[in-house]
């Protein structure tokens, strides 16, 4: 079961923030009550979120709702490892290419040196 938490403590820039519930319809009225537009959150209604956020982690044994995030965990760790390995692999690949190029230049330089010597002698 997905654990959801109503994000009603964050500032109004949060997309998808829940709107206040509509007023209940009068059962005697023949016409359905039109839905009210969600009220804009006033700046004085926004308070810093100090309660409800985790200030510590404690073990929670035996709760069924804690096992739903394992797929998320695996995805997160695989993504992190992919990033790191891609970075390391890319670095080693560039170093190999630089080494190859450097060796080419060194051999070209070594070939050039006898030509220079011959030119100097004549």
């Amino acid at each position: 079961m997905t654990q959801t938490r109503e994000p009603n403590r964050v500032p109004s820039l949060l997309p998808g923030a829940p709107s206040p519930p509509d007023a209940p319809a009068d059962p005697a009225s023949p016409m359905p009550t039109p839905p009210t537009a969600p009220a804009a959150i006033r700046s004085d209604e926004v308070t810093p979120a100090t309660d409800g956020r985790a200030a510590s982690f404690v073990a929670d044994h035996g709760s069924a709702a804690t096992t739903s995030a394992e797929a998320t965990l695996v995805v997160a760790y695989l993504l992190m490892w992919w990033l790191v390995f891609a970075f390391v692999w890319g670095t080693f690949r560039r170093i190999r290419r630089l080494d190859t190029r450097l060796r080419e230049l060194e051999s070209a330089q070594a070939r050039r040196l006898p030509e220079h010597d011959n030119g100097a002698q004549t």
Binding site: Q3, P15, T50, F57, V58, L79, I95, L98, A108
Partner: protein, 236 residues
């Protein structure tokens, strides 16, 4: 090449070893945290926090090298500053990817403009700017100095991330800050310690490796430039 890369490779192998020990500890030893902290998703914490620490460490190395470069220019300092910025981008990317995956479980949304999240994103963007600047501009002195100045600026922004929770509140957990409840199970502390150790080794290895890479690249460009000059002089 093998000799030159022995040091960073050794650090990488050591880091991989610690990570190999960390994974079973995270998934088999540490208990699941309370629902309010995201339940099983809280285990992302043991990678998320070390990744943030890696960003801080790499950013600090970038800061030191950048500041030293501004005092006196050298290829080594420039290379290390550039490497630090790149590894800080990597660490920041890991933070900004792992955090929302946890937040979806704990808060119901992937992202909020929470002070800590916002300042972390801002820091990451500063280091991305440094990397892009060095990647898409020439290797001239003004570009290097500008990147070094950004590297110095970026470090001060890292402090904002750290202090944002105390200064501005927000939804982000305060488990490890002063006044926070902390980790109530000793195995949680063990997992976090292993993660921080592994990330230290990995960060130092990557910065060392990238510094060597940039130094080699700079040296190669100079040799090629000199060769072109020689060819032009001899008419070859």
């Amino acid at each position: 090449m093998i000799q030159r890369l022995f040091g960073p490779t050794l650090l990488l192998v050591a880091g991989a070893g610690v990570f190999s020990a960390l994974i079973p500890v995270i998934f088999l030893v540490t208990p699941t945290a309370q629902i309010a902290a995201g339940g099983a998703a809280q285990r992302i914490f043991y990678l998320h926090v070390p990744a943030a620490y890696a960003m801080y460490l790499a950013g600090t190395l970038c800061f030191v090298a950048s500041a030293l470069y501004l005092l006196r220019e050298s290829d080594a300092r420039d290379a290390m500053a550039r490497a630090g910025a790149e590894v800080a981008v990597l660490g920041g990317t890991m933070v900004l990817c792992s955090g929302p995956l946890w937040a979806k479980k704990a808060w119901g949304v992937y992202w909020t403009w929470d002070p800590r999240l916002t300042t972390a994103l801002l820091s990451w963007l500063v280091y991305v700017a440094i990397v892009l600047l060095r990647r898409f501009t020439t290797e001239g002195e003004p570009e290097r100095r500008f990147a070094a100045a950004l590297g110095v600026l970026g470090w001060f922004n890292l402090w904002l991330i750290h202090l944002s929770v105390q200064l501005w509140g927000g939804n982000h957990p305060t488990v490890l800050t002063r006044g926070g409840g902390g980790l109530h199970d000793p195995t949680m502390g063990l997992a976090l310690g292993l993660g921080l150790t592994a990330m230290t080794l990995l960060t130092l290895a990557l910065v060392w490796l990238r510094t060597r890479l940039h130094l080699a690249r700079t040296g190669l460009e100079r040799v090629e430039h000199q060769r072109l000059h020689d060819d032009a002089d001899t008419g070859a």
